[in-house]
């Protein structure tokens, strides 16, 4: 049980715990907070797997941006029954079975994957990622900016109060 494996198990246990809270907690705000925590752990995993630039951008975009948005909306939309009523509809048993089934099948499929053991030392990836994004992945990089623009406009159109 070397240290990295120990770290891995600890982090994954925490992350799964927080994700379960997200999915089952009655109080939506608490759910959002736990989602932030689990995203933090995802960033930790990215760092563990050598994506240092990735971990920082995950923190920046998800935790700093998307979660703030979700918390904003949760605050705007605080209906009184939001915190008392049962949060899952009556279908939670079939849902649990389906999710469990999918999870089990995936795990059964993934368990036996053998991967190379000796791996190159982790290198800082920012410069290489920069070259990649603006070199080979230049087209998707530009298209993504269009996607973001569309999302921006769409959000404005839906969100704005229309005086009609």
């Amino acid at each position: 049980m070397t240290l990295p494996l120990g770290i891995f198990y600890a982090l994954s246990a925490l992350m799964i715990g927080f994700s379960l809270v997200v999915v089952t907690s009655r109080n939506l705000f608490r759910g959002a907070m736990c989602l932030t925590a689990s995203m933090g752990f995802v960033a930790a995993f990215f760092a563990l797997l050598g994506g240092d630039f990735l971990a920082a951008s995950q923190l920046l975009i998800y935790v700093g941006g998307v979660m703030v948005l979700i918390l904003f909306v949760v605050m705007f939309v605080q209906t009184p029954d939001l915190f008392r009523a049962r949060q899952t509809s009556v279908r939670w048993i079939p849902a649990l079975l389906l999710a469990g089934g999918v999870g089990a099948l995936f795990i059964r499929a993934f368990c036996h994957i053998e991967s190379p053991t000796e791996l190159p030392v982790l290198q800082p990836t920012s410069t290489a990622l920069g070259h990649l994004l603006l070199g080979d992945m230049a087209v998707p990089f530009e298209v993504i900016s269009l996607v973001l623009l569309a999302a921006l406009v769409g959000a404005l159109v839906f969100g704005l109060e229309r005086e009609s």
């Binding site: 509809s89 279908r91 849902a95 389906l98 999918v102 099948l105 499929a109």
Partner: protein, 633 residues
């Protein structure tokens, strides 16, 4: 092949100029004088001048026909290279001159005729677009490009017939014209495909070479020829598809003059002449062409006799003359019918314009309401008279030279039936033309109020008519001069003209029949009309039958349109009841059944609502699960 400006010989410019005008007018129309009319006239005039310049260069020998221009590459599909190719030979130069000339005169005429009409921009834009389409047909050197021009003309005829669409009749007529010509165009389209499949090229010259070096079964040539003839029947309003032309008179008269007399309908004859090598290759096709042509011309002439509307009379006369031209082509009288096409364009346009100026003055088409207009509208009367004489093929006028050639060819082809048919048609033509002259210009005024303020049309309308009148008189003589005849009407190379002696009686009967028809028409319909009433009572059933155009429209409605509508209704029922009922709703009920075993109403009643969105998500995940499980084994 880099496309440089010098490559555009000015031959290209002829169709391009009106095309450009057609698009500039709607954009800049508001600021142009007369809402863009002058731009359109200027464009057509420029094309006319270029055509004239080409004629002069042919005249002084510096340009020999047929003269091919280097094609401009357009796009290539597989091996075949589509090009914008233009070709100049006698036929295309002649038609180019006629089209640009007539279009120019008619656009000037419509300045006066349409002065108070709304949407002038759209009118002149469509006219220019039409002219460019026709010129594209005339000058193109391959079928594909010709087809583009062909479709452009169909579109413009729809736009122009339905010009004042607030009148319901005009709208219906436009749709009818468009659909009927479309049916014909189907034939032509099929011809395009078969030609490409069999011969592998669209270019006329290549087609001619591949046909001449033989090796092609006769049924293939006949098939191609007949399919092309389908397009011709549609566009030139021959027997089965002629119903749209009389209704097309709903459009303004200059439009009828240009499109439905001189150019578009003549395009069918032009197409037959252009693909003459195909037609002359299969005797069966020639036979069909001549009989269809002949039959149509007789039928139309009979209908012409019985109409009350001056423009319908001219429409029927156009159909009949076109039939005659096709008849001429059918009996391998190439030069005769091409010349007739040329002369007919001149005097028929003239007749239409004159009729237009009459309508403009008395505001009605019904010839029974008009009378003795010769005194008030002397110029229109004389011009109309010249046109009528040319149409009736009275010797010194244009019609005589071309119709006489056709009749000679019929005789040379030893077709007694067709000869009799030709004679009766020319007799009837003379009769119904002078019937109209008698009723409209010579007899007593039927309704005094119309007669009172009838006045001569403004100069802008009369001058084009006078120019056309000059041609109606002299065009036949000019064209039959040997030198001109040789350049314009020399039959395609391989076809040996049948040079045999023509007995005198052939021509004498033709002329006497024409003069007889003229006399009868004038005698009956001028002066007091008592004789006409007595005749009318005797021939009433026939007259009514002809007046209703042999109930052809009703027959089409009964035997064609009604079954099609019935079929459509049946299919709609089938789709709605069977397919929707079983497949679409079926799955929904199954899905609902599978999941909540309760319809939404029960669910809401019991407080637990069956959430639809998540139900469907459930199905999706379940399917994914099954797939995952299935392929992991």
């Amino acid at each position: 092949m880099i496309f440089t400006f010098s490559m555009i010989s000015h031959l290209f410019l002829i169709p391009i100029l009106p095309f450009a005008a057609a698009f500039l007018i709607p954009i800049f129309g508001r600021w142009l004088p007369q809402r863009g009319a002058w731009l359109s006239i200027a464009a057509v005039m420029a094309s006319f001048i270029i055509a004239l310049d080409l004629l002069l260069r042919v005249g002084d020998g510096s340009l020999l026909l047929p003269h091919a221009v280097t094609p401009v590459p357009w796009f290539s599909v597989g091996l075949y290279e589509f090009v914008w190719g233009f070709q100049l030979d006698g036929l295309s130069l002649l038609m180019g001159l006629i089209v640009t000339g007539v279009s120019l005169l008619i656009q000037i005429y419509s300045l006066g005729y349409m002065s108070d009409a709304p949407r002038l921009k759209q009118y002149f834009a469509s006219l220019s677009l039409f002219t460019s389409g026709m010129l594209l047909v005339v000058f193109s050197d391959n079928y594909f490009q010709l087809f583009i021009g062909w479709e452009l003309m169909g579109l413009c005829s729809y736009l122009l017939i339905g010009y004042d669409w607030d009148r319901e009749a005009a709208g219906k007529a436009a749709v009818k014209a468009f659909l009927t010509t479309r049916i014909g165009d189907l034939g032509f389209y099929a011809a395009l495909l078969t030609i490409f499949i069999i011969l592998g090229t669209f270019n006329f010259v290549q087609i001619e070479e591949r046909l001449l070096d033989g090796g092609l079964s006769s049924w293939a040539i006949t098939l191609m020829a007949l399919l092309i003839f389908g397009g011709v029947v549609g566009k030139s309003a021959q027997f089965p598809l002629h119903v749209w032309l009389p209704d097309a008179m709903e459009g303004p008269t200059p439009v009828s003059a240009l499109i439905h007399s001189a150019t578009m309908v003549a395009a069918g004859v032009y197409l037959t002449a252009r693909s003459y090598v195909l037609f002359s290759g299969s005797p069966m096709a020639m036979h069909i062409v001549s009989w269809v042509g002949g039959g149509t011309s007789l039928m139309a002439a009979l209908f012409g006799v019985a109409t009350r509307d001056i423009k319908r009379m001219l429409a029927f006369s156009t159909i009949s003359q076109l039939g005659l031209m096709l008849l001429g082509l059918g009996v391998s009288g190439y030069s005769g019918s091409v010349m007739h096409m040329a002369t007919h364009a001149a005097f028929k346009a003239l007749l239409f314009l004159a009729a237009g100026s009459v309508i403009h003055a008395v505001h009605t088409n019904d010839i029974w309401k008009m009378g003795s207009l010769s005194k008030q509208m002397a110029v229109t009367f004389t011009v109309f008279l010249f046109g009528a004489l040319a149409l009736a093929a009275i010797p010194p006028f244009a019609g005589f030279f071309s119709k006489d050639k056709i009749i000679e060819n019929i005789y040379l082809a030893h077709q007694p039936g067709l000869l009799a048919l030709a004679y009766s048609v020319s007799g009837l033509t003379a009769f119904y033309v002078f019937r109209v002259i008698g009723l409209v210009f010579l007899g007593q005024p039927k309704e005094r109020d119309r007669f009172a303020h009838a006045h001569e049309s403004p100069w802008v309308m009369t001058i084009p008519m006078i120019i056309l009148a000059f041609f109606a008189v002299s065009f036949g003589w000019i064209l039959s001069r040997p030198s001109i005849f040789e350049t314009f009407f020399s039959a395609p190379l391989h076809h040996a003209a049948l040079e045999a002696a023509i007995p005198a009686w052939v021509m004498i009967t033709a002329n006497s029949v024409a003069v007889g028809g003229m006399g009868l028409g004038l005698f009956l319909y001028t002066g007091d009309l008592t004789r006409v009433e007595s005749l009318a009572r005797v021939f009433h059933p026939i007259h009514h039958f002809l007046f209703r155009q042999a109930y052809l429209d009703e027959a089409y409605e009964l035997f064609l349109l009604r079954p099609v509508r019935g079929l459509a209704a049946g299919l709609d029922w089938f789709d709605r009841q069977i397919i929707d009922r079983i497949f679409v709703d079926g799955f929904k009920t199954i899905a609902d059944e599978l999941l909540s075993r309760r319809t939404p109403e029960e669910a809401t009643a019991s407080g637990e609502r069956s959430g639809r969105i998540q139900n469907y998500l459930m199905i999706v995940t379940f399917a994914a699960l099954v797939l995952l499980f299935w392929n992991s084994h």
